[in-house]
Structure formats: C-alpha cells, structure tokens
Symmetry: D2
Subunit: 286 residues, 4 copies
C-alpha cells in the first residue's frame, strides 16, 4: 500500500512540473480533494487539530494524526502527504513514525525543524529551531525507519519563519538533502512571496522544492514555476471554508428555528449519500 | 461527567418548552453548535459516517462513533445526544453501549427500532423494524446498562418511515415509554410534517417527544409547539454546508492554481486559532 | 504489506504439510508466538475479548479487533490470521472488513457461519447459524472487498458445534469453497477429535483444511496429518497461561506484601527490555 | 466518574496506613489486580509498552496509554493511577493530559521529572532531569487542567535514579509538594532500599509518599511503614509473569505439536468466561 502510493507520488514528481496538493482533515475532505483533481492530499496537522478543536501545538498525538491519515487512505486513490510536525519527539520517535506511516499506506511524511512541542508557524514568537545536525539525524532516522518501503520524506525548514534569513535556510536545506530528504519544503509566513521565490532561485540541487502559500496567497503559478518550486500545498482552505459555512448555517437555523432558508445553499442528502458510496452498498447488498 | 451533562439535559427538558439541537461530526462542528447557542449537540451517525466517507449503514462501529462523541464532550460545555442507530446489535450490545457512553460523559443515547445492520432512513426500501417487544427489551437493557448514571435514553421509532402508519407508531411509542425511554423520537421522511404533527397531537403521556425536520423542513416553530413536540434536532445541516463549501473552495483553487479569490470568503487562520483555544495555550504556556 | 504477508502465508500453505498457528491478543504475545517459531499468529477474538475483560460475544467491535491485529502486524514478521467472528454484520460489513484488513497488512481473515451477534462456540446453547447461501454471499463479498490484495479468506463452519452433523458440515464446506474461501476451518467442541478427523477424511477438494484443537487437545500430529488437515491453530493457550500466571503472582505478592518470593519465577526487566527492542533504541538514539 | 474514583482513592489514603497497588496493562490484568484485593491499579507505561512490544521510551503516545487506562476503568471498581511518564511534553501538554484523564474516570495521574522523550529508569545512562522549576510548572498545570475534578496528581522524582543524591531529591520533593502534588513518589533503582528509607525518614510534610520496590524487592512491609511510606506499587510483576508463562506454554506446545501437556497448568476456558462476565451476558440476553 505505502509502496504503491509512494511510487505514484514519486512518479508524479518525476513527470510533472507542478504538483498540487490540498489540505484535508477527515475522509470526506480528502475525498473532495480527490474529486477536485488535486494530485495529492496534505493531511494537515492544523486542519486535524482544528477538527478536534484543540490548539495546533503538539496537543494531538501521533496516534490521532496517523489514524486520521489512515481513514483518508482507506477512501481515496491518490497519495497522502502526512504533516508530521516535528516527528513527535526525537530521532527514535521519528524512526517509529516512519515505520508506522509506511505500514499504514501513507505515501509521504513531512517533518519540520522546530522544537517539540511545536506551535503553529503562524503564531508569533513561539517557535524555536533544533540544530541542523539534530534535524538531519531525524531525517536519517526516518530513512532507516521506512525500511524497504518507498515512503517519501519531506523535510521542512522553518528558518525563514523564525527570521533566520535565507542563508541559514539554504544551509539547512543542503544539510537536509544530504541526510536523505526526498523533498524540501521551504516555509514562510510573509505576505509577499519574495523570500520563497528567492530561495527557489538559489536552490540548484535536484531535490524538489515544495511551498505552502497561505500568507503569500497572491503568488502566481508562473512565479512558482519560474522559481523552480514543484509542489504547491493549499494547506488549510478546506477547513477554513467548512468552518465559515457551518457557522453561518447554524446561525441562520437557530435564528429562524428552521432550516428552511438554508436548504438551497447546502448539499443535499442525496449528494452526501453519493459521496459516502451508499448507492454501491445498497445496490450490492441491501 | 455523564451524570453532570445528563442532569443538565434533564433540567433543560423539564424547564423549557423547546430544546434545539444540531448535528455535529467532530470537535469543531460541536464547538460551532455550542457557540451558536443551541441547547445540545446531536452526535449524528449520518454526519460522522460522512466524515469518514463511508455509507451511513452500520459500517462505522460503535467504537468510532463513541470516540467521536468523546472528542466532542472534551471540548464543549453543553449536553451531547449520541445517535446510536440500532444499539449496535442486540440487547447485550445495548447494555455495554449504555455503560460505555455514560462513562464517556455523554448526556444521552438514542436508539432506533430498525434491524441491525441499519441503512439510513432516507434511503428508500432498505429498512426493516424489529418487533416492539424486541426493541423494548433493548430499552430495558440500556436502563440497566446506565447503572447509577443519569444517562438519558432516547427511543426512536421508524414506524412512519417504513410506512406502518400512525397507529403502529403510537403503539410502539407506548411500549417504548413503558420500557423506560426518557424521550420518544418520532421520525418521518415525508415532505410535509402532517404525520409528525398528528402523532404529537395524539401523544398524551408525559414522556417528551423529539423530531428531526430534515425532509419536512417547512415546519414552523409554532406548529412544533402546538403539537407538543419539545426537542427539535437539525441533524445534518452542519455537514451538508461544510461539504458544499469545501467543494466550491477546492474547485476554485484548482481552477486558478491560487487561493487568492477564496481568501475573502473563508474563515481566517486567526479565527481558527481562537476556536482551537490557541491564545489560551500561548498565553499560559509558550 | 497485506499482499506481502498474504503471499508468505499462501506459499507456506502450498509448501508445507502442516502449518502451526497460535493465538495472541497484543503485540507481546504475538512476538512470543513468532519467537517460538510458529508459522502464523491467530489474532483470536476470544483472547482479545479476554484482554479487554468483556464477553467473547460480539461486544468488542471490528475497530478494536482490527486495531489489535494492526499492533501485532507492526511488530512481527510472520503472517497474521485475524479471527473476525461473523464478519461483524451482513455482507456489506464483510466487504468493508476485507478492505480494511488488507489495507492493514493482515495476511488472512477468518469468518464463521454463526449469526451476529455471536457467542463463543464453547458456551452451550447460544449459537445459531445463518443459511449456507447467506454465508456464501459473505465470502463472495470478502473476495470483492479484498480487491487486488492477496488477503486469504478462511471460512469457518460451526455446523458440528451446533449439532447439525457431518453431512451438513460438508455441504456447507462445499458451498463455502465454491464461493471462494481459501481455507476451510472445521470447528468442533467435543472432547474427542473423531468428527473432525472424519470430516477431514471425507473432504476431497483442494481447498486446505484448518482446525482448532481446544476441547479435543488429545489429538496427535499424526492423526491431523492422516486426516489431511493442514492448518492447526492453538487458539487460546497464551491467554490462558497468562491469566493463570498473573493471578498466582498477584496472590503471592499481596499475601506477603512483597515480590521477593516471585522474583525467581517471572521474567526479568532485562528480558522484557529485549522483547521491547529497547537495546536497539538506546544503541541508535539515546 | 473521575471524581468518584478520585474520592475513593483520597479516602483510602486518608484512612489507611498502607495502600497496595499493582501494575496492569489491559482490562484482564486490571481485573486480576482487583480480584486479588489490591487497593488500586497502576496503569504502568512499562507494562503497556511491553504489551505493544515497543520500547518504554515515549514511543507509545498519550492516546494509547489513555485508551488503555480507560479500558481498565470500564471494567473495575477500584481506582486507577495512570503512569503518565513526563506528561507527554511541556506544561501545555500536561494541562490537556489532566483534563482528558479526569474526563476518562481515572483516579490519579503520575508524572515524573525526566526530560521528554524519556527512557525507562532501569535503562542505564539515559535519563536527564528537567529543572525543578520547570517540573513544578507542570504540576501547577496539571492542577489547573483537572478543573473541578478530584483527580490526584502524583509527582515522581528521579533524582535518586540519576544519581543526584538525597538532598536534591528532597529539595525537589518540597518544590513539587509546594506546587500542589497530592502524592510524592520517590524512585530508586538500587538493590538495597536504604536511600528510599532514608528519604522517608527525612520527609516531614503531610504529603504522602509512594515507592516502587522493583529493584529493592527485599524491602519489608515493616521497613516501609517505619519510613512513613504509604503507597507501595508493585509496578511490573503481572506482565513479567505473563511473559514467562506464555513463553513456556508456547514452547511446550510447539515442541509437542500438542497442547495436551499444558492443559493442566493453564486457566480453563470456563475460568476465562467467568472473568469476561460471559455468564451474566448469557443469563440476561442470549
């Protein structure tokens, strides 16, 4: 399973100039990502933490994140990239993480160079990095932990997020690629994409680059391609739209004590049965 | 915990003419139901099945439904009514169910008189009822299983859904109230609310009534009150609005290869951090 | 994963005259089964139910049994045969079961022709069978549910257990083999093995046979081979010995208010660290 | 639930000179601890890690340890003291831990002053302590996290284990008691109990003491009482006896290809059905 989906993701990366992934937090959001023809699913720890209504700050454990990724893997046919935060501890934890995620049929794991327990990158002043050597050891540990599987390892540097600058970000990226990372994710929380684009222009190695244009959403496809960034992750929009929509729907229902007004704006029961696979079940079995 | 939330729900039912509940499928949707001032959360098996992207047809087990209800209970301060389908088997299963849900701090469980494995009531031609005696035995078993806790037991009859008519529905309702049901849920899948309203008018016992106005959404608060129905459950609208919103957002992102256009229509990162409780965490700990 | 372990089990069955499996209920018992050179692990619903201290009567759900099998699969290198009782409902449940167990890397699932919810076969007077056609449909459903994977499907008939006699048992076995069962498990609760042996002698098809010599423990390897039974499952002895040992140890400790007397008779901390893989972890990481 | 069992444990501690607890790792071992009349169950992270066959080194997450404690809580009527290692991260993690364990009906949590990720105390040279202030902050966080519940907080110092000496151990113990610890656990890995006894003699505060006589098993009840230690935890013997017994049973079965010889030495199926509660289920329901 893992190997199958990992292989699919490796081939996508080898054959396409741009890979688009979108964040999901459960089976249905993963299915919608697939139905909208994204190439891969980002099993976002921000989205999943939100779905549990707990802070995106290492409060959920690997168990809950893994189980959620597994639920997705059982219902979609595209690769899942699991956002694994810091790797849940030290290099020993990362070893077990890689073993368990590959056994679960997940295509890729992504770990970042923040200290455990982490705080979401968009919360100011809370993040601290581990040393490059320490993080490189985690990557090597993930490589060992995946064993024979093809599990991809995304290494994410937060050097720009914590304000260390481009040189440090590049130095770390080189160390992580040397340690065996399959993809390098360069993260930024600025409104303009310039530092990410500059990073891309200065990156000359074959290890592919990924980015998450949350704050610098004005970036264009052309800019991304010109900078040589191959994997683009829209990491949190499914959840952000779901929350807005649920909130409005609930507000309208309670104020009217009726769902009459919202009926036209929400998916029908029939549409949800289709997404569930109900017709198949009934047709074959009941 | 269970006793605390169960007591809160019992008091609400004793003191209010109308109780409004809304369906949820995870921690965040539960939190939004609470924030919008509903009285209680309906831990909907339809919504939860949708969230796993599997048919609402006894494919999820009690374990997954219970775990989801528990996640909700840990983050909200209003009662949860857990939609427990058929009780997951026979009376022995119901006994264990009541024991486990009360230990998890859930205020109420709702079981229905369909045969296990069930199919969602809005799927035509798939539902079959167990005998009234068989279902009354399940209710008695739930009463024993809750032990000293105050767990409420909602008994739901599908007699109208399968076309057995009002007399059968009323006869079953009497048997279920005799067996110890705390609330009687009368379900219907017709577009007009007439059979539900007539049921309400003919029900003369003190056991409160509940209804789920999904198909007969045109029903008014006044009609509900006039018919003596006290608990109104908007069972699936949160999920239906989330699916529609996520689908549209993902479609727009992939067609533009950019989230630029959707930014204004979705919740901000900041709003989601608030819902997660991130500020509290950062303020106290990091 | 599934395919890998399933293939290993298929090859074992093709190449060996006798396959020995033993029951387990968690990671460590599975590891001990492997260390003692059994060919496969029986993820026993009786043992697992005992480990949760609930009746072996469909009280645990598939979720808990699957999760336990997965824990085993992550720590051993031999195939796991998962005891899946009745398949957890009807043919639709069996379909999802086969899909999920194969995704979890389990080599084989075993379903039996008792009615859901089941009661353990060694409890008198509680078991009732579904019709042969109904059960054959479950097997076909498992075949479809496994998709491309090599997951083996064991079909277990309880015809002898409920007293239907050999002819009925054989008729059912033929129907199940026709439906696609990979292995036929003939169960019995008599003290003497005669009915099992006779079944074996009368079975002329290529579908291999399995048995569980719990009550007829006097049976010899020679008798088993002479009857053409290939897979022998010692289904519950690990748990039965663990319970006896823990009970005695605890009794001695409490009566002496000291563990001094039991020290010599129990495994050392060091031995348990080895089984945990602690040395590896410390050597590599800490 | 939590409050109920926490209150029971508080009363035991107030009314008895010695409280005896024993380690368990699943429902059945917990039930055997209860049946042998221990006062409380120690939900041992060493035993639970062993049951998963992974190192006792923060490889299991809180989710797995909590779920295991919950399984125990659902089947016994005595208090459970959950071994929570370091609290699974920093003070923010501890806050959530206390909230979730109290919601699960667990009587007490025990956290220790090792750095996360921890390694078992009996593994040489791997442990490092956090500062007393850092750990006191965790205790305060647990106090806040338990909210209105009566959850007890055990604070365990590893100062003797890492060789810091008695003075440091006592200084830490005072800081932890000041921070709100309900019970102080003094741990040691020496063969003789002298340092633990000396600690007890020098401890003059009302906060009760606990110890785990694994390595210094020669200690007597009289010595423990004379030193003023009130809670004695036999933390790992159930698992150690289970492993030894399962290993021997499996070895004998495979060498004989028969369970005939072991039948007399292991618990009967009937005894396990009793422990499962099967008679009750069958009597009432099937």
């Amino acid at each position: 399973m893992s190997t199958e989906m990992s292989t699919m993701l490796r081939r996508l990366i080898e054959s396409r100039s741009t890979i688009l992934a979108a964040g999901a937090h459960n089976g249905i959001s993963a299915k919608l990502v697939e139905r909208n023809r994204f190439d891969a699913i980002w099993a976002s720890s921000f989205e999943i933490s939100t779905s549990f209504a707990v802070p995106d700050a290492s409060i959920l454990t690997m168990s809950e994140l893994l189980e959620t990724a597994r639920v997705m893997a059982e219902v979609v046919g595209i690769p899942i990239i699991a956002d694994c935060d810091t790797g849940f501890g030290d290099a020993a934890n990362v070893y077990h993480m890689a073993h368990r995620y590959s056994a679960a049929g997940i295509a890729a794991v992504c770990i970042e160079d923040k200290r455990f327990p982490k705080t979401n990158s968009f919360v100011d002043g809370c993040s601290e990095l581990v040393s490059p050597g320490n993080f490189a050891a985690k990557i090597e540990s993930a490589v060992r932990g995946r064993g024979d599987s093809e599990l991809l390892i995304f290494a994410r540097t937060e050097a720009l997020v914590v304000g260390c600058g481009l040189d440090e970000a590049l130095a770390r990226a080189h160390a992580y690629a040397d340690a065996g990372a399959d993809v390098l994710l360069i993260h930024s929380k600025r409104r303009d994409p310039e530092e990410v684009l500059e990073f891309g222009r200065r990156w000359q190695r074959r290890t592919p680059l990924a980015c998450i244009p949350t704050s610098y959403y004005g970036i264009t496809r052309e800019e991304i391609q010109a900078a040589g960034i191959q994997v683009v992750i829209f990491a949190n929009h499914a959840m952000r739209s779901a929350v807005r929509a649920m909130d409005r729907t609930l507000a309208r229902i309670i104020s009217a004590c009726s769902s009459s007004e919202v009926e036209g704006q929400i998916a029908s029961m029939k549409e949800l049965f289709e997404l569930q696979g109900m017709d198949d079940l009934v047709g074959h079995f009941r």
